[in-house]
Amino acid sequence: MDVNEYLGLFLDESQEHIQSVNTQLLKLEQTGSQDAIQEIFRSAHTLKGMSATMGYESVANLTHEMESALDLVRAGKKESNQLLLDTMFSAMEQIEEMIANIETGGRGANVDVAATVSAFQSFIGSTPKAAPTVEANVFTADLYTDSVITQAKETGFEAFQLHVKLSDAVVLKAARAYMVFDRLQELGEVVRTLPETEAIEQEQFELSFDVLFVSQETADVIEHAVSQVSEVEHVHVTVYTSASSAPEVAVSAETVAVAEPKPKIETEEPKEQAVAQAKTIRVNLERIDRLMNLFEEFIIDRGRLERLADEVGQPELNETVEKIKRGTNELQSLVLTLRMMPIEQVFNRFPRMVRSVAKDIHKKVQLDITGAETELDRTVIDEIGDPLVHLIRNAIDHGIELPEVRVAAGKPEQGSLALRAYHGGNRVFIEIEDDGAGIHVDKVRSKALERGVITPEEATAMTDNEVAMLIFAPGFSTADVVTDLSGRGVGLDVVKNKIESLGGVVTLETVVGQGTKFQVSLPLTLSIISAMLVQAGEETYAIPLSSILETTLLDEADILTAHRERVFDFRGQLVPLVYLKEMFAIETETKTQFPVVVVRKGNKLVGVVVNDLIGQQEIVMKPLGTYLEGIPAISGATILGDGRVALIVDSNDLF
């Protein structure tokens, strides 16, 4: 088989499975969810199969060990422990490295996995789980079991789960087991056993076995009857709680029935699976770009057509144009989503990274992610990962203090790190906020002076925030002790450059003792957007609809003054007013009543005063060019239906 053809697919799917395992591992660590074990097992199994087919034995071998270890946990024979979790985490790291090696043309044999393999093997070989508690998860339900139990319950039977342990000195295990079954048959009916009945008959079990049993007797009676059998050391009888006890659920028997109810996690899981398994085809990005370009031209022509149809005023023509408009609107939302991907793809790798970084330097960090579904351009997604990794590492390394320091400062032992993504205007904002020590501005200032980054005159003239921003200056590091993390010779200046090369901006806010917030704002690179066209004097501007909350009419008399700022009452909230004509020095008269476009950024609002609202329109965003870059409050330009250029207002600059 020519495997090259499948390499791309293999790499993609491997990444997906690695991601899924990592997510589930974290879930397992936090909740001990049985479903997580199933998921991890499934992914490990798939990884093993794929890599074996592709001939990457190193990956196959490691996943095989992992699968074997998990199989025991899954079957309830062994209990998962921290050591196993850590081993699995490092196994996934190693597999990731192997996959990366394969991606660059290697054979994936670049990682020494001996330690991991032996850790798995010692887990597999260790003494089996002594299981005095068998309340949950001994029997995974199947359709047959469930229907039997449902039927039995309808006729007044109760389902029990028995854990029988024979004494160490037992000679004829199978015979004793047979006697147990014999007793049970008198009281009710054995539905299933674990191991299977044949295995028990052939003595293929250790000292204990489990029985799923339906009976009209009580648990006590059953327990008493079984314990009468000689050489039975212990019997534990519990009521079998299956999902099928509620009859309508009996159909969905694939769900693991015996596990204790953890409603939230379990209901969310099938959804996640569905996303991972959504069918995709891979399309060359160039083709999509060509499609976008063609479509842009088409949209401009459509604008022209609309205007012409308006002038002609022929009903049939208008109707046809209207149809075209509707069709293209749908087409457009489709085309636009082609290049967009949720930032989840980048965020997904952070929980594990935060865990391992924090562990390495003995810090406790709780990571909260919001807005992972925020979509942005594929190109940006590909590039933004590394800068974010750097900022997060930085926050854990320099921001969040050691647990004892935090306690001494009266903070919770566990530091919190928030990672947020959201849309604002035509940009995407990503925030990384920690509740750590904050940046000591004086320390930064003296270090910057010492390293000659700034002159003494500059140092006195700079505001605290400007000084704090110096940590992004080339050749600057605030670490008192060069740790493994920060000592990589890569400074934050690289992060800043990278973000700027993506058309982004990074800013920070810091309060000593309370924490630091980094904010990265990135262009959405949506080239076609919905915008509100507004008029001020002779000039037309476009305000992206995505940043507009609503438009309203305001009377001169409604304007209030607060802190020498003009504000107005917008639904009980005082919102500052910005006059477009003042902002852009447009010569125009002041009207006594005027439209206000209320725009938002995050949860802040601003009212933009304009002369007239022209209407909503699809516009194609065009860059103003390098030469005019950095013009305040203008993010680009667009060509209107009549061929004139209108500038696009960057509402983020109005705050």
Binding site: E297, I300, E539, M583, F584, A585, I586, K622, P623, L624, G625, T626, Y627, L628, I631, P632, A633, I634, G636, A637, I639, G643, R644, V645, A646, L647
Partner: protein, 143 residues
């Protein structure tokens, strides 16, 4: 090496710009003002679907602004930073290097403007200064 220049006027002064860097010569068309841009930036135009900045070369070189006439043209130059248009009073002709002789800028006339001039071209009935459009722009940007 054979060189050609597009020669244009600003008032009574004539300048030449390397023909290689001139993409097209356009008639005056509606310019959209860009607020808060430097004064000599006239605005942007729609040049066959590309939003192109337009510079009033008079203002850039320190002359007085004039109203556009029938002869006013926009020279579209392709520069390091992308295309840009220069508004000139009149586009005269294309001059070949064999028709002129290049002389250095006289020391005495070195001033702010001449920093963007590379040489003076003299011919039988011609005299014009060679303009380095990129220098004009780059320095501009740094300001």
């Amino acid at each position: 090496m054979e060189q050609k220049w597009v020669v244009f006027s600003l008032g009574t002064n004539t300048y030449g710009i390397d023909v290689q860097s001139v993409r097209s010569i356009e008639r005056v068309q509606p310019v959209t003002r860009v607020p808060n841009a430097p004064a000599h930036v006239k605005g942007v135009i729609n040049l066959r679907g590309v939003v192109t900045p337009v510079i009033d070369l008079r203002l850039r070189l320190g002359y007085e602004a004039v109203e556009p006439t029938d002869e006013t043209r926009i020279l579209i130059a392709s520069l390091n930073q992308g295309d840009a248009g220069f508004i000139v009073d009149r586009a005269n002709e294309v001059v070949e290097s064999e028709d002129v002789r290049l002389e250095p800028i006289p020391e005495s006339s070195r001033d702010m403007l001449s920093a963007h001039l590379t040489a003076i071209a003299k011919g039988e009935d011609k005299l014009f200064s060679l303009l380095d459009a990129n220098a004009l722009f780059d320095e501009q940007h740094a300001e």
